[in-house]
Symmetry: C2
Subunit: 200 residues, 2 copies
């Protein structure tokens, strides 16, 4: 049984919705980007919290590179960190805590990479064709049809860069996930069922 | 219900075995690379067969590029085709015929691309980590442990080049399949079950 399910997803692929369905079906907690960001802000970007969180992620060489070597010699100056990196460090700690607390679905936030040393994780990537993503973006995100494709490409480019910056791994490559699903061709419900079955 | 399941797979990932299991579970026919190659040879690489087969695939622009433009102006000289291209043309025709005949699982041979215009196909890619592939290669293919990694990389490079040459598409990218599965982390049986469920 996989206790933690991470879902990475292209914008407009319905990956977040699939994550919610999976969480409902399995009775798991559900955490998405907004919730984790909120937790990070609330649990405080205090120096102490960041310091502790930072210690937790220093095992990652790539992460250290992203941090610009500020962890070298076991002494780092967290004041020198850009805010986005501080947030990442804190989110990292929070995601590890959430996974430890109980069964959950975590959408986005490099969770697959952050939890890569756990063997109770199922890592999922959801994608679909541009025409399907445009349809969803227009229907569910109030994006104008004429801007949709540009907006989707921009969002996905930003997700890919964020992921690569913190992990050194290419986003959306089959080999980095346990399962990737095309939500456009398979349908949202079928994707959720497939994930639930694979988690069992 | 998906009547045709195509399976592309990394060498040593157990994709062929998964295909066999899926065919058994669903009561579908099973065709792999060797069988299709045999059919291509048996149904003859006769001029007439190749000519007919060639007509069937001219709709693909990329295929024409691979063919070096020999189809331009609707007149082509099939004697000028390299043998590997003749075989591809005939295999293309055979794969289309097999898909037409009845429910089946087809492993390899760019079948996903060849059948891309059908809407009753489920396109699958199976991969796994190098350590898992080495284990399978040693156990099932009698490959010496010390040569296994080199052999696997060589085989997969050749599959990727073959696929790219005939389709212009990158092999093994999540976006080109309905589902990709890591057989090492999920297990052969779980992959087969997931495919059967998605086909239904």
């Amino acid at each position: 049984m996989k206790r933690v399910i991470t879902i990475a997803r292209e914008f407009g692929s319905g990956g977040r919705h699939i994550g919610q369905l999976v969480a409902e079906k399995l009775g798991y907690k559900f955490y998405d980007k907004e919730l984790i960001l909120l937790m990070a802000r609330e649990s405080g970007l205090s120096d102490k919290f960041i310091e502790e969180a930072g210690e937790k992620v220093t095992s990652s060489f790539l992460f250290n590179v992203a941090m610009g070597g500020i962890y070298l010699n076991n002494s780092y100056n967290h004041n020198a960190m850009p805010l986005s990196d501080k947030i990442f460090v804190v989110q990292n700690k929070i995601i590890n805590q959430l996974a430890e607390e109980g069964p959950c679905v975590i959408v986005g936030r490099c969770a697959d990479y952050i939890l890569k040393d756990r063997d109770d994780c199922l890592n999922v990537f959801i994608h679909s064709k541009m025409e399907d993503k445009i349809k969803r973006a227009v229907e569910f995100y109030n994006i104008a049809q004429k801007n949709a494709e540009k907006e989707i490409r921009k969002k996905d480019k930003s997700r890919a860069s964020h992921y690569y910056y913190y992990t050194g791994i290419e986003w959306g490559k089959a080999e980095n996930y346990d399962v990737t699903l095309n939500s456009g061709s398979l349908g949202i419900e079928a994707c959720a069922d497939a994930i639930c079955n694979l988690a069992k």
